[in-house]
Amino acid sequence: MNEVRVAIEREADIVLARQAGRQLAAELGFSTTDQTLIATAISEVARNIVVYATKGEIVLSRLEEGERAGIVVVAIDRGPGIDNKELALRDGYSTKNSLGLGLPGARRLMDDFVLDSEVGRGTTITMRKWRR
């Protein structure tokens, strides 16, 4: 099993993405608590795709580095892109009147978090979590 791709085109896909994430995390041996953290982080970034970019995809894959194993979650869209990345990663900042906790929150839930975005081109968020 190399990777699982979940197309995000409507809000119902958010649930599919996080269920797929939880399932892969379970297969990889993550604790139920970590499975929930991963599923929640996926929910946040998948929702951002729906709200800001209308469509995109979530790609889930296994991570292996010597003895260590983990999960990689990549959220990709060709949406409007993020103008000010620093602001976007700040708690409480929202351009759509929401809580503004999605991106900084997802970052707190995962071990690694890379935000790659360009206005007019889209956004790619790469998150990793290691199995303890």
Partner: protein, 120 residues
């Protein structure tokens, strides 16, 4: 899939199912706002035991449901947040400020009964 809402005296009890979509939550908000009026409910319990994820949207909507209910004269209590879900919410920075929470249905009903007694 709509969330079933049961009536017990002047309390409405909604038990959400695990694969809850955003639309289901919004539908629940609208249904509860209506039902509070038709049955003159004083209390609302939302049981989220089956929810394996409570993200920022769900939290925001639950809070919205509670505030809406309060405007219509009913107190809300969210019950059944699972340990891992609670932990994820704390990590995410989510609070249920302004919304009562309790361990389970029994505790929630007891809490709401106390609140109503204090009001009198």
């Amino acid at each position: 899939m709509p969330v079933p809402i049961l009536k017990q005296g002047d309390t409405l009890i909604a038990s959400v199912v695990s694969a809850l979509t955003d639309d289901d939550l919004v539908q629940l908000r609208d249904d509860l706002a209506q039902r509070i009026g038709t049955v003159r409910a004083k209390s609302v319990v939302i049981d989220v035991t089956a929810l394996d994820v409570l993200d920022s949207f769900a939290t925001r909507t639950l809070r919205g449901i509670a505030y809406t209910a309060r405007l219509r004269g009913a107190e809300t209590c969210v019950v059944g947040i699972q340990p891992e879900v609670a932990f994820a919410m704390v990590q995410l920075g989510l609070t249920m400020e302004g919304v009562s929470t309790a361990l389970d249905l029994e505790a929630g009903l007891a809490l709401l009964a106390t609140k109503h007694r204090e009001k009198k």
